[in-house]
Symmetry: C2
Subunit: 177 residues, 2 copies
């Protein structure tokens, strides 16, 4: 050693690339895509003094009307207290109502009001437009491939949380038929 052994504090000047055995391409695309996807509803939320936490709650209450608090906690993977704060605000502002569970009266079924439904739709609209624009450049079969990929990214044991009502136009037939 002419001077000293390799110091750990030395700057590394080479960039990490896909050659390092890691799929940085998709890791990074996923980050940027989600960053911009979630930024869409922010302006609307700001007008209501709501945040992304409110958006997520409102979304799932609209997608699965009548779900219980426990079910919602399981979907969002947050704690009771985190949910309680935003849920209370959504109830106080008349976006969501609680209905006593018909079978089990301890449960509170959560439903959107007309106001809550309207806001959920308004928040989803720019996200849907962004997706439509991204798909417009895609080839015919691409949508199915993208849905398969995204579902494949979800933990297998949680894929059941994603219902089939999820389907849009083209592949909704199996339910209706």
């Amino acid at each position: 050693m002419t001077q000293h052994p390799e110091r750990n504090e030395d700057p590394i000047k080479s960039a990490l690339t896909g050659e390092d055995g890691i799929d940085f391409a998709i890791i990074e695309l996923f980050f940027f895509a989600y960053r911009d996807f979630t930024s869409d509803p922010d302006q609307i939320l700001g007008e209501y003094a709501f945040g992304r936490a409110h958006h997520r709650v409102l979304h799932f209450v609209n997608r699965r009307p009548g779900l219980t608090v426990a079910e919602l906690l399981d979907v969002l993977r947050i704690t009771k207290q985190s949910l309680a704060r935003v849920l209370k605000q959504l109830i106080d502002t008349g976006h969501i109502v609680q209905v006593q569970g018909p079978r089990d009266r301890r449960q509170r079924e959560l439903y959107p009001t007309a106001k809550g439904r309207g806001l959920a739709l308004a928040l989803a609209a720019p996200q849907s437009r962004r997706i439509a624009a991204a798909l417009a450049e895609a080839a015919p079969g691409d949508r199915a491939a993208i849905e398969r990929f995204l579902l494949g990214m979800v933990n297998p044991e949680q894929r059941a949380q994603i219902d089939d009502q999820t389907a849009t136009g083209d592949d909704r037939r199996r339910e209706a038929g």
Copy 2:
């Protein structure tokens, strides 16, 4: 009106579906996919008392060694103070070093150390494995379709932030060739 006009607080019992003109299928898949994708590195981060903010900084410093603080702020879309906190911790723990800019001595170029590179790779590994598993179920051309879609989801004016080094194996030719 037999009883009273429609009350706004009435619970809506029908679920929002794709029929409402919104692409809820992909909106929801994207949420679940990203939720689980970002949860992968959490355990490793916990061992270092780091969070996802540290991960993002470490990632981009490794991907673009020598970038300046201003450039990093632009990529992450956060404020100087938010960055300062986590960056300071990464520097104090020897994961990142600052080098005075060669042309402009006001600038601080950010580089990973060997330690920082190692951690970046360790954090990316489980994410890369998840992606590989999702792609394993896909058809041959699907990867290109997925990359196009994700890129299409990014704001057009920010697509330049995603360099082409991003490419892995199959489509890296154009640089090397």
